[in-house]
């Protein structure tokens, strides 16, 4: 993204929370060889996990970072949060270079890694919160107010009193997110925060993250395999595959850009009707009930409905977009086929 004029450029920079330019990460993997060869003259293969990623995040934006396994999502998040050093490229997080200004930047970012824990296992979560408040040099009054606010928002009053080992995964994850938000970070990196959770817990976590971000204006970058996280929490989605950017757009625009399909469910007075047409695929057929998938690039929804009404009297009609998961699959398969 470019800006023109000094003043415009300055304003643009002030609204940018994360600025990534041509980011690259190459891992060296040792080749398998005989014992002595590995010991004396090991050979390495370069594996490019991230290949020249560029994107920006505005302040307060909630962005999903999506991609299949091995796409480079976690590697990117770890470079943005200063854990990994990139092989090339530039990153600016609130004006800081993560791997150089790690300590200064730590006060401004929060991280949640779904498969990891930062809580002390044998002690209640509130003890970890208190410890973190010292690590982040929070004033006592500020810490107490902040903890009360977050504990109320996350409905975690009873949870924080129990030793962490006694919490369920969903309960623990709520405490993990509180721990990450305690120092009021302006940017929150979430790496698969709902992994392993049941449907109810996932919903709770998604709503809480969104709510916390809206209240504090926190910028959120979320990686997940679960498209529900993307839909419920984020406004924008960046899809990457094999370390490269595939698409970067609003979540609501994703449907129109990548998939030309609608699912139509009809409840009718006739026992059955024939809807065999080009671009129409039968999904489910029962007496007085028909579910079809329509390729809108071949035949319009209006035409299908007109045809159905000519053949029978309709009691109910539902027109749905396909699940987001199918859209993401379509994006991935589009990338695969273009390779």
């Amino acid at each position: 993204m470019a800006c023109q004029g000094r003043k415009t450029c300055l304003i643009w920079r002030m609204t940018i929370a994360v600025d990534v330019k041509n980011l690259r990460k190459t891992f060296k993997i040792r080749k398998k060889a005989g014992f002595w060869k590995t010991l004396l003259s090991p050979e390495y293969t370069d594996v490019e996990a991230v290949k020249g990623l560029s994107f920006t995040l505005q302040r307060g934006e909630r962005v999903a970072f999506v991609g299949p396994n091995g796409a480079g999502k976690s590697t990117t998040i770890k470079m943005l949060s200063g854990i990994l050093h990139p092989s090339a490229g530039e990153v600016s997080i609130n004006g800081f270079t993560p791997w150089i200004d790690r300590t200064k930047m730590a006060y401004q970012i929060g991280t949640v890694f779904g498969q990891r824990s930062q809580l002390w296992y044998h002690l209640p979560a509130k003890d970890t919160f208190e410890l973190l408040s010292y690590a982040y040099e929070m004033e006592r009054d500020d810490f107490k107010k902040r903890m009360v606010t977050l504990v109320d928002a996350f409905d975690a009053g009873a949870l924080i009193e129990k030793p962490v080992r006694q919490l369920s995964l969903g309960e623990r994850m709520r405490c993990e997110i509180i721990a990450s938000l305690l120092h009021k970070p302006s940017i929150l990196f979430l790496d698969e925060p709902t992994v392993g959770l049941d449907v109810v817990s996932k919903g709770v976590i998604r709503d809480l993250v969104k709510q916390a971000s809206e209240q504090d204006g926190t910028t959120v970058l979320l990686t997940s395999h679960d498209t529900g996280d993307m839909e419920r929490v984020c406004d924008r989605v960046i899809v990457i595959d094999h370390g490269q950017l595939v698409t970067d757009q609003r979540v609501k625009d994703l449907r129109t850009g990548y998939i030309h399909e609608k699912v139509i469910t009809l409840a009718m007075t006739e026992v059955e009707i024939d809807m065999a047409l080009d671009g129409v695929r039968l999904v489910e057929k029962m007496p007085h009930h028909l579910k079809i998938s329509v390729d809108t690039s071949i035949v319009s929804v209006e035409h299908i409905l007109q045809l159905a009404m000519n053949k029978t009297s309709l009691e109910d009609i539902t027109v749905e977009d396909p699940p987001t998961e199918d859209i993401i699959k379509a994006i991935y398969s589009g990338v695969q086929s273009s390779r």
Partner: protein, 260 residues
């Protein structure tokens, strides 16, 4: 500095809460001390005990040596698990260096062990051996003070071994190597003054291993000078801390967080 104090305080609370772990640790210590002293008893019974050191004093020497290994928490295991599980990702994002955070926690846990072993452990040795060493009670306290320094250096070495996981994915074999050197050069099985003549004992005494274990315990058999050992511990402690810091910077460049 207060940050570090709070991390130590937290580890103290965590270790204090786990009474089963503490009890097990102390029981194992008593068993090991009992076995080691028993072995010396057999050697003395055959008439091959070292000249000039009574069985009673050798018992105290061994009891204190073994205690050192039970004072320090197994910090290398913690670091090894952090690196291998990828949990280190959380800790690297904090405004407190991971290295010193873990050392603070190690010192917090060490304090719990100091309380238990310096009271119950000394009481056990006193009762089992039937009194203070022949040189008196003061060297016991001097040795205990030096054991604190030795344990901190042991923690630093453990951190060093743990950081090796960044390269090897397994700190255990590095730690085992370190422990073998410690057993050989630290005066763990017998005082360095009794080492065979072909070994460079003067040089061995200047190494950190001896100042951690053998030298403090040797005060109980009337060998060594408290202030010299303390000075050596300070020099080695500071040197290892500086080297560790340099090593940590290299590790940060090497870090590859596991699990994607």
């Amino acid at each position: 500095m207060m940050k570090y104090f709070h991390f130590a305080r937290m580890a103290f609370a965590d270790y204090s809460n786990n009474r089963l772990r503490m009890t097990t640790r102390f029981v194992v210590y008593m068993m090991l001390a009992w076995v080691m002293i028993g072995m010396w008893r057999v050697i003395y019974a055959t008439g091959h005990g070292p000249v000039g050191i009574s069985l009673h004093d050798m018992g105290w020497y061994n009891g204190i040596v073994q205690m050192m290994f039970f004072l320090s928490p197994r910090l290398f295991v913690v670091i090894d698990e952090d690196v291998r599980s990828g949990n280190i990702a959380y800790f690297l994002n904090r405004p407190i260096p991971y290295l010193w955070m873990r050392l603070s926690e190690g010192i917090g846990s060490l304090c719990v062990h100091l309380i238990v072993f310096f009271t119950l452990g000394i009481a056990f040795l006193y009762l089992y051996l039937g009194g203070w060493p022949s040189i008196g009670v003061v060297p016991v306290f001097a040795a205990l003070i030096l054991l604190i320094g030795g344990s901190v250096i042991h923690l630093l070495f453990q951190i060093c071994c743990g950081l090796g996981t960044f390269w090897t994915d397994d700190a255990a074999f590095i730690y085992n190597g370190y422990m073998k050197i410690m057993l050989l050069l630290g005066g763990v099985y017998l005082p360095i003054s009794l080492y065979p003549s072909f070994m460079p004992t003067k040089l061995i005494e200047l190494l950190p291993f001896s100042s951690m274990v053998g030298a403090p315990s040797a005060l109980l058999i009337g060998v060594g000078n408290f202030w010299e050992i303390l000075g050596l511990q300070i020099v080695w402690g500071a040197t290892i801390m500086m080297l560790l810091h340099r090593f940590y910077v290299v590790c940060l460049r090497k870090v590859e967080v596991h699990g994607g």
